[in-house]
Structures are given as C-alpha cells and as structure tokens.
C-alpha cells in the first residue's frame, strides 16, 4: 500500500484542490514562514496601540513590551544575561514552559485533525477528559491496589489518552457515518465533559474529596503518581516544571511529525485532508481515517490533561473546567501552520504572552495590573483574528509579486 501510493499520486501543488480548506492549505504552503511572522508582528503592533492608549508615550509602550518579554522569562535565553540564585528569569520561564506543555499538545490535537480536513474544536473537552481520568486513576486506584510509581504514572497517562481518544473518535465516527459536522459535535462534547466533571467533583458528587466537603474538588492524587518526584526544573520553592512533562511535549512534536510524514496512516490522513474524494478513489477508507485522525488527535489533548494533573495540579476543582487551554490550542495550530516546529514556536508565543502579561510577572510600575489581563486577551484575540486573515496577507503578497513581475516585463 505504502509503496503503491507514494507522494505524487495526490500532488499537494494541484491548484484545483476543492474546498476552502484545500485552497487555504495550498496558500499556506506558498506563504512559507513570512505570513505567520507578519501575522504575529501585526498583532503586536496593533496591541501596541492599545498599550500606547494607556501609557500615553512611545518609550513606555516599548518598555511595556520589554516587560512582557522579561515577564515571560524569555530574557533567560539572552547570553549576556547572568542571574544569581534565585534566578528570577528562570522562575518566570519555568511558568511559561508549564503553559507551553499543554499548549503544544492541544495544538497538535487540533493540527492533526486539521491535516485530515477536520476542524477539532474539542481540544478543551479532550484535555479535560484526560485530566479527569488521570485524577481519578491517580487518586483512587492506589487506595485499592499497590502500584509502583512508574506503572502507576504510565497507567494514568494511557487511561487519559484512551478516554480522550474515545471521546474525540465519537466526533470522527459521527462525521464518517452520518456526516454530522465535527465542529458542532466536538463543541457539544466539550460541554458533556465539563458537566460530567462538575457532577463528579462538585458538591455532593460521587468523587468529591473526602477531606473538606465545603470545597468542590477531587481527592489529591497519590504521592507516587506525582511527576515532580522525578525532579523539576526551576526554583525548588516555586512550583517547578517536571522534566518528564517537558520531555513528553518535545517527544510528542517529533512523534506528530513522524506519524504524519513517514507512516502509511499519516499519508492516508493527509490524503483525505487534501481531497477526500480523490483519496476514496485511491482506495483509502475515508471513514476509517476520520475516526483514527480524531482519536489520535484526542489522545494528544488527553495526554496534556494527564501531564498537568500529574505534574503540578495534583487535583481538579470545578473551576478547572472553566479553562481555555484547548481553545488556545486552535490558535497555536493555526499560527504554527500545522507543522511540528511551527506548533512548538506558536505555543511558546502564546505561553509567553500569558505568563508575561500575568499580574504576577508584569511589573505593576510599568503597566497597571487592572489592565494586564485585558491586554493578554486583546493581543491573543488580534493574533487569532490575523491568523484567520493571513489568507488576505498571502493574497496581498501574491498580488505584489505579480505586479513586480509584470513591471519587470
């Protein structure tokens, strides 16, 4: 099968790839690295107008951006920046990376489905499903069975990935069999997970913690299942980033890239993504690809949930269900152009933005803390807006190029 259907059978350069998605992917290929960089730059520029409106001077605006950069701990990378113990930039960077890990994984969850022509809005639900299952296994199982830390952690992760994969596969299955649109079904599944979790850990829920009935939260996970046992990076007094989480996130990027570009499954997924009709004609089961692609996508998001629970959350409370990490994952995948390297970098941008503009890291002397959170949301929103509009940027670039060509002729 692999040998028969090598690249070229479905040339991605084919200009008449049908559907908006196909054209979009084509254009993205053409735009290369320029468009995402332009997108991010434009968003920061317009965000700068907002900062300017509050600080009322250009040097202060630049200083605010510098403060966001420092607040995210990115100055740790600057070679001339030496810091003494406790190293503040390292502490801040570790917080950025703590957000980076789930963003990478939920970004992959969106990107993988996207390459199969599916728009996975359910990253949030899949992430939460993983987190819920991980917390249940890690908190309840050790009460009944005696397990060593390594099998316990592996079991938690596998269970979380399995649950999230199953959840996402439901959307893929519905798309494959009755044609229910995955955007609708994944959004609905998000709410299913949120309410199941709220019921389980909420007031008088069956899995609410045993210590304090006043608090709607789960039990704390068993000490043996905490990833921090294996060492953390960063200041020991501050919440550290477990090495395992960082390693798993980087490995996931590699796995994603290999799975998509070097396996039969990946080829089928991409083929269906470019043109399902052509793929079907070529002998690929489109239905199977939809279910598998969603399942695999979901398992990445579920892994993110497990890593967060085992790495530093250690329990879930009902307010955890109001997060948005899965939704930011969509922006990560879009800005990262669904490539492994792109996702890694885009996740770093969004993670740095979140940490850098948080009231704890952004210097209150430079930017008022009351406005710090809205600033995060504004810049994030602008990037998402321009990512959606980067097709416009691409068209502009192309027109410019054409004009130059005709002028030369």
């Amino acid at each position: 099968m692999t040998t028969v259907m090598q690249k070229g059978l479905l040339p991605p350069e084919e200009p008449d790839s049908t559907g908006a998605l196909g054209r979009y992917l084509l254009l993205q290929k053409a735009g290369g690295l320029i468009a995402p960089l332009l997108t991010a730059a434009l968003a920061f520029l317009i965000g700068g107008v907002v900062v300017f409106a509050t600080t009322k001077s250009i040097p202060d605006t630049l200083q605010t951006y510098r403060a966001i950069f420092d607040g995210a701990g990115l100055d740790w990378f600057l070679p001339w920046n030496t810091c003494t113990d406790p190293c503040t930039p390292a502490i801040k960077l570790q917080q950025t990376l703590l957000v980076w890990v789930p963003l990478v994984l939920t970004g992959i969850a969106v990107a993988f489905a996207f390459r199969c022509g599916l728009f996975n809005i359910g990253g949030q639900g899949q992430y939460l499903a993983g987190a819920i299952v991980a917390v249940i296994v890690a908190a309840e199982l050790p009460l009944h069975v005696d397990l060593a830390p390594v099998p316990l952690v592996l079991l938690c992760m596998l269970a979380a990935m399995g649950a999230a994969a199953g959840l996402a596969a439901v959307a893929g299955f519905l798309k494959a069999t009755v044609g229910a649109h995955e955007v609708i079904t994944t959004i609905m599944l998000n709410w299913t997970v949120i309410w199941v979790g709220t019921y389980l850990f909420g007031f008088e829920g069956p899995l609410q913690n045993d210590q304090a009935k006043e608090i709607p939260a789960s039990n704390t996970i068993d000490d043996g299942s905490k990833l921090t046992q294996a060492g953390v990076w960063g200041h020991p007094d501050l919440q550290g980033l477990p090495w395992i989480s960082l390693g798993v996130a980087i490995a996931s990027l590699v796995v994603y890239s290999l799975l998509l570009n070097r396996t039969t499954l990946g080829f089928q997924v991409r083929a269906v993504g470019y043109n399902p009709e052509a793929a079907r004609y070529g002998g690929i089961s489109v239905a199977r690809s939809y279910v598998l692609a969603m399942g695999i996508a979901g398992s990445f998001a579920g892994l993110a949930g497990a890593l967060d629970v085992l790495g530093w959350k250690f329990r879930l409370d009902t307010t955890d269900f109001a997060g948005s990490i899965g939704f930011i994952g969509i922006a990560v995948a879009l800005l990262g152009r669904n490539t492994a390297l792109g996702i890694g970098l885009a996740a770093l941008l969004f993670a740095a933005l979140q940490t850098g503009t948080s009231t704890r890291n952004l210097d209150p002397e430079i930017f008022p803390p009351e406005l710090a959170t809205p600033l995060t949301i504004i810049i994030q929103g602008l990037i998402v807006l321009f990512v959606g509009a980067d097709i416009v940027i691409l068209l502009l670039l192309r027109r410019l190029r054409r004009r130059q060509v005709s002028a030369a002729a």
């Binding site: 006043e214 109001a322 704890r360």
Partner: protein, 341 residues
C-alpha cells in the same frame, strides 16, 4: 536565646500597647518600616461588582490608610492561584491574602514554606488547612446574621403589603456560607411575622454563574406566592433577581450592595470583604496578628450588615430593623448558624 525572646516579647507588648493608643487616635503608627501587603484574587475580575472587587477596594484603602505599598495578583484561571501565591510570597510581602475558599489547598502548601510572612484566607477557616500553619489567619463571616437582618425586613415588608405572607431564598448549593445565609433568613422572617412561610430552594449550580437555573427556581417560588426573593448564589442569583423584577416582587442582593440593579431591590445582605482586608492588614502591621485562629466578622464588629434600603420602605420599618441590628450586636438575639429547611 531566652533573653532575645524576652526582648522580642516586651517589644511586641509595647507595640500592641502603642497600637491601642494610636488606633484610637485613628493615626497609623509605623512599627515596621518596610511592611507591604498583597492580595491574590480569585477567578472573575477586579471589576466583578462583588467579592474580588471588594477585596481589591480593601487593599487600596489599607494601602492609603497605613501608607504601605500593596499589590494585587489577579487570578484569571484555576491554574493561576498557586503561582500567584508563590510569587507574592517569594516577593517578600509581609501579609498575603488568599481571596476565596478555593485558596485553602494552596495556602496550606505555601504558608509553611514562608514562616516569616503572614497569610490570611478570606472565607477560608483554619480547619480547611490540615497543616495548621502558625502564620495563617482565617477570615470568616457571620453570614447568618446578615441573612437574619434581610429576612426580618422581608418579613416586615410582606406583613405591610398583606397577601399570602410568603418569602423565599434561592441558594446555589449547600455550601456553608449559603446555608448560613438561608438559615438566618428563615429565622429573621419568622421574627417579623411568626406565621410567615419561607421557601428555601437550591438551584444546584456548581458554577455559581448559570443565571437561567436561579431564575427558574425563583419563578417557581414566585408562582407559589413569594413576595420577596433573596438571592444567595453569586452570579447565578442575578437570574433570581431578574425574575423578581419581571414578576414585580421584591429582590434582595447578596455580598455586595446590589441596590443599583433597580427599583425592585429591597436591600442587600452585605459582607464587608473590603473592611476585613483593612482590619487584618492593620493588625498585622501592628504586629498583633497571631495566626492559627479564625477571625470572625459579625454585625458586632461591623463586618456584616445590610445595604441600601429601598426608598419605598417606610421609616418605621427601618427603625425596627436597626433595633434588631443593635440587639444582634449586643448579643440579645441568638441566631442559629443552621436550621433545618
């Protein structure tokens, strides 16, 4: 060792004595030159018109009154609480407030690691911290007293208006604070009119923000004749108040003064979070915050009360309400924290 302890003890006594003298004069004395305070809010925003906004108001007021630097750490998602507390602690703030009972777990982790700094939890009793850290003070409110006050006014109002003599309250869930509010409400209404019927129902909304759920419960209560609806459900409860407005019955707000919601507002059961921040900060500033205990805020010390009363309520009723308030303050009225309903 013993000697230095003695000196320290003597110094503390002196400080306390001085604080008492200075406190009565209303001027802040400078015991610790570089004292600074921080608060960590909970999910929501600094402009949430209730809990977080009140805590932040308290921070600003405390900073102005004592002339000390303060800082707010805003929690925008559940993931922020622990890093916020840790950041505040490692930045060396002498007193750090965790606003909201979700901070209990993290205060339990952070407080023992920074034994030279003080921590306080609003709505967090020390019983929620298994480690029982020496530097933690719980701040708890006597919600049942506020419930009693507004319940009494609700009872009076129903009596004055005539009709079926039914009032009601809508709670989000059976959380301790809500149960206390609703229990007090029943007792207060019965005090005004022993024959009154008090309906008490939960909306079962763990998110505290689903207005539709509370509205539905309130509409059912109004259909059963409720003349006054007391919301005890945060954001969810705004739905109950809008039901009251629609059906032209009275509504009562909770926590913050919610009289701005319209002419249908009878009053609000007020929990002065801002005042608690100022008081505890002053105590810590004067070196008088001992830790390992819960600091209660009640009608007696002004931490609990009622908000703006509708201008349509006759002066005589307000006078009666104030008499009840005085009796609660001097202990003449005993209110049970919980009653069966």
């Amino acid at each position: 060792m013993t000697r230095s302890r003695w000196t320290l003890g003597a110094a503390l006594c002196l400080m306390a004595a001085f604080a008492l003298v200075a406190g009565s004069a209303g001027a802040a004395s400078s015991q610790k030159k570089d004292f600074k305070m921080a608060i960590v809010t909970d999910i929501g925003s600094l402009q949430d018109k209730s809990f977080n906004e009140l805590a932040n108001k308290g921070r600003i007021a405390a900073g102005k009154k004592l002339g000390i630097p303060t800082r707010v750490y805003v929690t925008t998602k559940a993931e922020d609480r622990l890093p916020n507390l840790l950041a505040a602690a490692s930045a060396g703030y002498d007193l750090i407030f965790g606003v909201g009972f979700f901070h209990a777990e993290h205060l339990n982790t952070v407080a023992p690691r920074y034994p030279n700094q003080k921590f306080a939890g609003i709505d967090v009793t020390k019983f929620l911290l298994p480690a029982n850290p020496k530097n933690f003070t719980g701040i708890v409110f006597a919600e049942h007293e506020a419930g009693y006050l507004v319940g009494y006014l609700a009872g009076l109002t129903a009596k004055r208006q005539g009709g079926k003599q039914v009032v009601s309250s809508v709670g989000a869930n059976a959380v301790p604070a809500i149960v206390k509010y609703m229990s007090g409400y029943i007792q207060g209404a019965k005090r005004a009119n022993p024959k009154i019927t008090v309906l008490s129902n939960y909306a079962n909304d763990p998110t505290f923000s689903d207005q539709a759920k509370c509205k539905e419960v309130a509409l059912r209560q109004i259909a059963r004749g409720s003349q006054v609806v007391f919301q005890v459900a945060g954001g969810c409860g705004l739905g109950a108040l809008s039901a009251a407005k629609e059906k032209k019955v009275w509504g009562i707000g909770v926590d913050a003064d919610q009289s701005y919601l319209g002419a249908h507002m009878l009053t609000s059961a007020v929990k002065k979070v801002d005042l608690s921040v100022v008081k505890i900060t002053r105590r810590a500033y004067n070196g008088a915050l001992t830790g390992q205990l819960d600091f209660p805020f009640t009608v007696k010390n002004g931490g609990i009360g009622y908000g703006k009363v509708s201008p349509r309520v006759p002066k005589a009723d307000i006078a009666k309400l104030n008499a009840i308030k005085r009796q609660i303050a001097n202990g003449k009225i005993k209110i049970k924290q919980t009653v069966k309903f």
